[in-house]
Amino acid sequence: MTTFFTAAALVVRKDLLVETRSREVVYTSLLFAVSCMLVFAFGLVKEGRVVADAAAAILWITIAFAGTLALGRIFDRERQNETMRALLLAPVPRAAIYIGKFAGVVLLLLLVEAAVVPLVALMFDAPLFRHAPLLAGLMVAGSLGYAAVGTLFAAMLARSRSRGTLLPVLLYPMTVPVIIGGVRGTAALLQPDVDIAMARTWLVLLLCFDAVFLTLALWLFEPVMTE
C-alpha cells in the first residue's frame, strides 16, 4: 500500500516540477479562462446588468472549458516526449499512475479556480464569498468529479488520432451531472435569499457522483491502458 501512494506521489511531484519550470498549462488555461469570461459577458450581460444565475453558469462553464484545455495539454506533453510509455512500463500498479495524474489535474484545476472565482465575483458582481466554505466545498467536489472522468479520457485519447476534437465530445456529456450539480449549487448560494439546504443537497450529490466516477475510472484505467 505504501508503494502505491509513493508511486502516486512521485507522479504528482514530477508533473508539478515540469509545470513549475514551464508554467505552460497554468498560463494558457488562465488566459483562456479570462477570454472565455469575456465572451460570456457579451451574451449574458443585458444593459449593464447580469442575467439571473448567469454568474454561476459562467464560473462553471469557464472552468470546464479551461479544464479541457489543460487536460489535453498535460497528456500531449507525455505523448510528445514519449514518456507515457515509460510511465506505463514502471513496475507500479496502473491505478497509482492514474491517482497521481488525477491529483495533478485536481491541483491545477483548483489553481485556475482560485483565480477565476474572485474574477467572476468582481466582474459579474456576484456575492461568491458570502458562504465561502460551502462554495469551496462545491468547487472541490466539482473539480474531483470533473478530473476523475477527464483524466481517464484524456489518458485514453493520448494515443488516439483525433484526440483534440474527441476529448470535448466525450467529456462534456459524461461530466454533465457534475456541471449541473456545480451550477445549481452555486446558483442557490448566489440567490438574493440564499438557499443553504439546497446547496448542501447538491454538494452531497456531487460527492456521490465523485465516488461513482472515481471508482469506475480506477476500475477501467488498467484494462484501457494495456496495449
Binding site: 472522468v149 481517464l152 479520457f153 485514453m156 485519447l157 494515443r159 488516439s160 488520432r161 483525433s162 476534437t165 474527441l166 465530445v169 466525450l170 456529456p173 459524461m174 454533465v176 451531472p177 449541473i180 461513482v212 469506475l216 477501467l220 484494462p223 484501457v224 496495449e227
Partner: protein, 219 residues
C-alpha cells in the same frame, strides 16, 4: 437452428407490428390527453428498448475489457448503434407528445436532459470508433461502461427531482385495458431489437473473419 429460427422470428415481428395499430386504436382514450396519449405505446416501448440496449452495450464492453473476448466487442458495437437508433425514436416521439401535453417541444427537466445526455454518450462512442484510429475499440468500450452507468441515474432521476415528465410508476399502475396493447408493443419492439442486434452482430462477425482472412493471405 438459429438460421431457421431467424426468418420465423422476422415474420412474427412483422405480424406483431402490423397488428399493433389495431390494438392501439381499440384501446380506451386517456381522460385528459385523448388521442395524443396513443404515442405512449411506441414512446415508452422504444425507451425501454433503448435502456436495455445501453445495458447490453455496457455489459458487453465490460466483458470485452476484462475478459479479453473480441466477440463481446462486436455485440457492443451493434448494441451502441441500436441505442442511438432507438434513442432517436424516443427523442422524436417525446417532443411530438410534449407539444400537445405541455405546450412546448422540449423542457429542460431531469428525465429529458439525462436521456439526451445518455444518447450523446453513445453517439460519442460511435464517433470514437469511427475516427479514433487503431486501438479505439478499448477506448470506446470504456465510454460504453460509463454510458451504461448513467442509465440507472437516468431512470431514477424522475423520482429524485420534481419534473413534468410522468414518473416510473405509470407503467405498473396502467389501466388493464391499456396494459394489453402496451405489452404487445413492448414485446414487438424488444423482438425487433433482438433481431436487429443478432443481424448486426453477424455482419460484424463476418467482417472480422474477412479481415482475418486478408491478413492470412498477406502473410
Amino acid at each position: 437452428m438459429t438460421k431457421r429460427l431467424f426468418p420465423v422470428a422476422v415474420l412474427l415481428c412483422i405480424g406483431m407490428f402490423a397488428y399493433a395499430p389495431f390494438l392501439i386504436i381499440n384501446a380506451p382514450y386517456e381522460s385528459t390527453m385523448g388521442l395524443v396519449q396513443k404515442i405512449f405505446y411506441f414512446h415508452v416501448s422504444t425507451a425501454i428498448t433503448m435502456f436495455v440496449s445501453a445495458f447490453v452495450c455496457g455489459i458487453a464492453s465490460a466483458i470485452f475489457l476484462f475478459g479479453r473476448r473480441p466477440g463481446a466487442d462486436r455485440v457492443a458495437v451493434a448494441a451502441a448503434e441500436l441505442t442511438v437508433l432507438f434513442g432517436l425514436i424516443v427523442l422524436a416521439s417525446g417532443p411530438l407528445w410534449a407539444r400537445k401535453a405541455w405546450g412546448v417541444w422540449w423542457q429542460w427537466d431531469a428525465r429529458l436532459t439525462s436521456t439526451l445526455v445518455m444518447w450523446l454518450v453513445f453517439q460519442a462512442y460511435l464517433l470514437l470508433r469511427r475516427f479514433g484510429g487503431p486501438g479505439s475499440e478499448k477506448l470506446s468500450a470504456a465510454v460504453a461502461v460509463f454510458g451504461a452507468a448513467l442509465v440507472p441515474f437516468v431512470y431514477w432521476s424522475v423520482n429524485m427531482w420534481r419534473t413534468v415528465h410522468p414518473t416510473t410508476n405509470v407503467v405498473p399502475s396502467l389501466d388493464p385495458s391499456m396494459r394489453g396493447p402496451f405489452l404487445w408493443c413492448l414485446v414487438a419492439f424488444l423482438l425487433l431489437y433482438v433481431l436487429m442486434l443478432s443481424a448486426r452482430t453477424a455482419l460484424e462477425n463476418r467482417r472480422a473473419r474477412l479481415d482475418a482472412l486478408y491478413l492470412a493471405l498477406e502473410d
